[in-house]
Symmetry: C2
Subunit: 799 residues, 2 copies
Amino acid sequence: MLSGVEHDVPDGIGMARLAWTRLPTADGERAGPSTSAGADGELLSAAAIESLDYEVIENYAYREEQAQRSKFWVPYYVMLKWLFSLLIGVGTGLAAIFINLAVENFSGWKYTVTFAIIKHSYFVGFFVYTVFNLALVFSSVYIVTNFAPAAAGSGIPEIKGYLNGVDTHGILLFRTLVGKIFGSIGSVGGGLALGKEGPLVHTGACIASLLGQGGSAKYHLSSRWVRIFESDRDRRDLVTCGCAAGVAAAFRAPVGGVLFALEEVTSWWRSHLMWRVFFTSAVVAVVVRSAMNWCNSGKCGHFGAGGFIIWDISGGQEDYSYQELFPMAIIGVIGGLLGALFNQLTLYITKWRRTYLHKKGKRVQIFEACLISLVTSTISFVLPLLRKCSPCPQLDTNSGIECPHPPGTDGNFVNFYCSKDGEYNDLATIFFNTQDDAIRNLFSAKTFHEYSAQSLITFLVMFYSLAVVTFGIAVPAGQFVPGIMIGSTYGRLVGMFVVKFYKKLNIEEGTYALLGAASFLGGSMRMTVSLCVIMVEITNNLKLLPLIMLVLLVSKAVGDFFNEGLYEEQARLRGIPLLDSRPKQVMRNMKARDACKNQKVVCLPRVSRVVDIIFVLRTNKHNGFPVVDRGQNGESLVIGLILRSHLLVPLQAKVDFQNSPFPCGPGVLNRHNFSDFVKPASSKGKSIDDIHLTEDELGLYLDLAPFLNPSPYIVPEDMSLAKVYNLFRQLGLRHIFVVPRPSRVVGLITRKDLLLEEDSNNDVMAELQSTSVRSLLNGKMLGGNVHLERPLLDNLVIE
Amino acid sequence: MLSGVEHDVPDGIGMARLAWTRLPTADGERAGPSTSAGADGELLSAAAIESLDYEVIENYAYREEQAQRSKFWVPYYVMLKWLFSLLIGVGTGLAAIFINLAVENFSGWKYTVTFAIIKHSYFVGFFVYTVFNLALVFSSVYIVTNFAPAAAGSGIPEIKGYLNGVDTHGILLFRTLVGKIFGSIGSVGGGLALGKEGPLVHTGACIASLLGQGGSAKYHLSSRWVRIFESDRDRRDLVTCGCAAGVAAAFRAPVGGVLFALEEVTSWWRSHLMWRVFFTSAVVAVVVRSAMNWCNSGKCGHFGAGGFIIWDISGGQEDYSYQELFPMAIIGVIGGLLGALFNQLTLYITKWRRTYLHKKGKRVQIFEACLISLVTSTISFVLPLLRKCSPCPQLDTNSGIECPHPPGTDGNFVNFYCSKDGEYNDLATIFFNTQDDAIRNLFSAKTFHEYSAQSLITFLVMFYSLAVVTFGIAVPAGQFVPGIMIGSTYGRLVGMFVVKFYKKLNIEEGTYALLGAASFLGGSMRMTVSLCVIMVEITNNLKLLPLIMLVLLVSKAVGDFFNEGLYEEQARLRGIPLLDSRPKQVMRNMKARDACKNQKVVCLPRVSRVVDIIFVLRTNKHNGFPVVDRGQNGESLVIGLILRSHLLVPLQAKVDFQNSPFPCGPGVLNRHNFSDFVKPASSKGKSIDDIHLTEDELGLYLDLAPFLNPSPYIVPEDMSLAKVYNLFRQLGLRHIFVVPRPSRVVGLITRKDLLLEEDSNNDVMAELQSTSVRSLLNGKMLGGNVHLERPLLDNLVIE
């Protein structure tokens, strides 16, 4: 569909050769208009292609349009691609800033007001705090349940599925975008045990998808000028950019975003895409940084206090000794165990929710969210109250840390329900605080023994339980920040013991908290490289890289022993059939035909009666049908694959119906617009029930040749299923034909046959071992045993 | 070959189903022992598989051996894989330290001695300096020409080719490793305009490959215990780890190493491999950091002065204004132009060298290298002499910079041929210095106007010319450091103008030098993400990421306008046929049969006479032959692909020869060792000329079935060549059969057919759009227009 584009264009999968092969009709006669045949005697067959996953039709009209505009088209297309990457970056960056701004200000205001009130009455303070949280959570759950149901949860499993090739209805709509943004402001601002990072990834993906389809058609916001990304592959590339932008915006980690998209999200990958994804991430970084610089002067209220690096611990632990590796490995084991437990518990709860609770309707979902908000508010307010305050330690005046820190600012040593001024409440420092500040406090260096083991354990148990229960309620929810909270708590706990145990080393508890956070995320999400880089980027400390990696290696290995990663579990639960990167063990002993032995293959003849087509479409749910025809000698030939969705287009248009059962000529596709065949993003597409035909029309014929994909990938029936799996997964296919063993080989394609321009300088090529047949033709017959009889070589050489 | 392994195992491509299909012989009779047939009536056919690129044979004996040892085998295999990754990391790290140690000490000693002598006589100093350089370069070129010819150059094009699927003879030998290490010490220590980074990548790859094959067989250093990586895929994974380790060691940039391997080197990639590559890189980081900590106390002579970050500019420019973006874009344009020019000039010179100069033998090569060494020494000594010294500027005492810096230490402001003590020679600061120090000086912050424009331009012109001429002489040579030198020179030049022009901004010339370096590397090597990350990691300044990216975007775009990247050009020149990630434009209009239309396909019958096989092998150079047989109805059937190298094994062993022209039974492969079929790394393998047969033997027959790959990938003859290209490239194939259109479809494989375990919970799956046929069989016939006639559905349903 984009032939002629030289630079960064969807490659051959998305391209079609337009070949109208002359195929005799079933009864041996030729039909169709006498258009001039090609040099090889071929005239008419098909003009359809297989896009990376979704097959897209290419037709004459479209090609001509292409050819006419190709001069301006190519630079326009390339420019637009980069422009869209830029826009995705800017959009996601702005969305992230907006969410951050809102959340920080809501939270900041909430805590300021609460702290002001509790000077007079703790009860009123608790009431205000609870009501404030409840209102925010209610707004979030109300938006999600009534307006954008697809905005619930983190969205990462669904996006993963989309990029793996599975559409989930509604995940990339405009309303989902809006619901996600405002919903996550409510849920995060409302103090629930969840984060805004996952939703930001989803937000980025939505922005990218909406840009790709030229805006939202439903709200009349779409523009024809930018609707050039009609292939699914282009759209998917954009969504990949959006994911990376989301991570980059959430953690201000551009490299981490690229690697996240690479490792976690996309099923296939090209280095050209990588560069564009990286560009998008960098744009996000620039936008977010500029906004934060602007906000630093206090123009954004409570937002903008921290720098670009979220939890900067670059001034932390400078070095580590080999003695510390053992406690660090222990952190990894704890992370693996707690992470796997988290996955398992959330799996059970989500199953229960899906089966019983959420079937009872929206009110139950709203009630559930509000209840959890009440419980969370109560725990986070009341538990610190029960905790005795500690006296402030002697602090280095150069460190810039105050104890207790002045009200209305962020920092360690929160004075909450303390009898004296020189005291602080260590549980309130982490519990009665915004999540970002709590993590900053846990990661902080030069604050030895700030937290008592008792407080940390209390917090760990309570927050872990809250996170498990909160996961899966009908609000936008990310698991990164809760995971960091949980992990850094036990990490800091281990750090405290290490400080006590190895007395003389230069150990920072904050470093252990960071490692704990990495270990929990590793044990739960099972990410590796991207998580590592994200942790490095959010803390701006490259030196900790090997330690983070050690911890991740251990926690992932421990977690893998028990169950799958969080996103995989959730995706499976939601019925998103993700394909692993590797085939299952059992496939090695199976053949291609074993995978489809229970199938009845429904073929369509090239020219079918409309009534037959309708019957076939109604009586099964197949999405692809082989089309067969008779060859010149009367033998049957498979001439291609037709998709249900493409078949519906001519059935609905009716203009292609014909009286005769003979093939039509070329040019028929001029009657259709290319865009008719493009499936709109995030919709279910056409259905057979939308088609209404009269009885006369049912008796007519339809030539399928113009609408089919003439060369789907094929495998012989006794190929190992594992090999088939690789073909399917690596090329991102939707359909593979399983065919009988071929009767002959027309040719062998090797590396040299695919290096077209190399023909000219064969002298250089000859240095290599030749794998091609060409050298034989060049006449280099080798000498040999002259007494060899002339063998039956002629029989061996076909063609 | 590794069935039963659950974790991180080569996937199905490397696996074979072992199916002995009963195929009647050519004359219709059945032959072979009456072994019990499978349920589906198949008995005997083949046991060969296609490894990722190289086809590997699997046989009964091997499988049984596997089954017996599988309990211990699986953990042993996994453990060994990680152990090898660790060893590669340690080995490459130690090699890098050794090279650095030697180079820094040789250079340091050279400059110390020279500076000591020139206090008395500049002439004697020049003489000593020149002779010292000459001796080092001579040792390097002597080692390379006489001992390890494959160690010349950077090695990256060859490694790229290896991972793309093209073996270059000798690049991964033990002698190449040794030659590379000692050769690069000589060439870098000898002050030539080249770097040690490319050679380090090659070194890492060699270490990995040697580990993978269990040591070097030639020098009796191999061990059977570790020779388990017999599949080419395993070896290639190890080499990928080695490449990443090389970059990580060269730049002390672990993340950059991973991305380099990902972007530049490997043709295919899996997320499991990524994690192992990352592990290797982290090990390198730990090893190098530990060694540098140890050296920091002065135990390593001149080495160890800098920290872990090579050119730390984290204390540099804090922020940038939007006004600066324009000069930065200009740097990008300059980088693109100079980089493309560099590629073009080196291409011409290399062509000339290959065609004329290096054909004249080793002596010419040695003479050439020595001549260039003399010229380099003369230029770098004499030019600074001609430059007038400048008076030292007023420096902040807190900055730690002294002017002139004391002799014997590294730093800015070198006093060379200056009349007064308070003066320095700006040209000598960059020219008469080690490369690392020169770059550090160019990148340095808070040294405004240290260099005059005249000096920078002189250096740029001279060094650029030297780099172009030096590229391609017979010593190990990297292009990273020269590229950084060239780029940072004009970068600093632009920076100087910016400082003059925008007076009040907080601009550091060193930042511009860094951007210049990035731009030149981007314009020459056309790397993107990995280069970006490497630049960030070597300077430890995350904040510059968006700027580096901007510069890279511009320079790559400008460079791409003129020619291909340096490594691609060099690979093409050396006859390494790299496959692009995208098919060529012209392929979109070609069909599969067009690629092989000039071929004569040479088929072998299943049971062939030995004399015929020998004739076929002698009279052409094909590496793969289709094997045909007769089906039950006498029709011809393609039963698989046999490789030349595999065919040579039974021909040489002779034990499989038989008197009868009928197929043999199973069990024949017990006579062969699996390892007989494995091609040794970096050797040319067996040749037909090694096989000597008597006339009696020539008259016997050989059944090829046990040795063939029963299901190579096939494509229909009218498939778009672009689609074929993608199949070939994505799956890393060596041979594809082009076959006629199939006559029928046995089945259709869709996503759901590949999700084997999902059968149980169909209720969830039903939520999705069904793409499988199974739902039809479950009996969900849809209602519809009841007045529809019963169509000819029976005709449509095959099987």
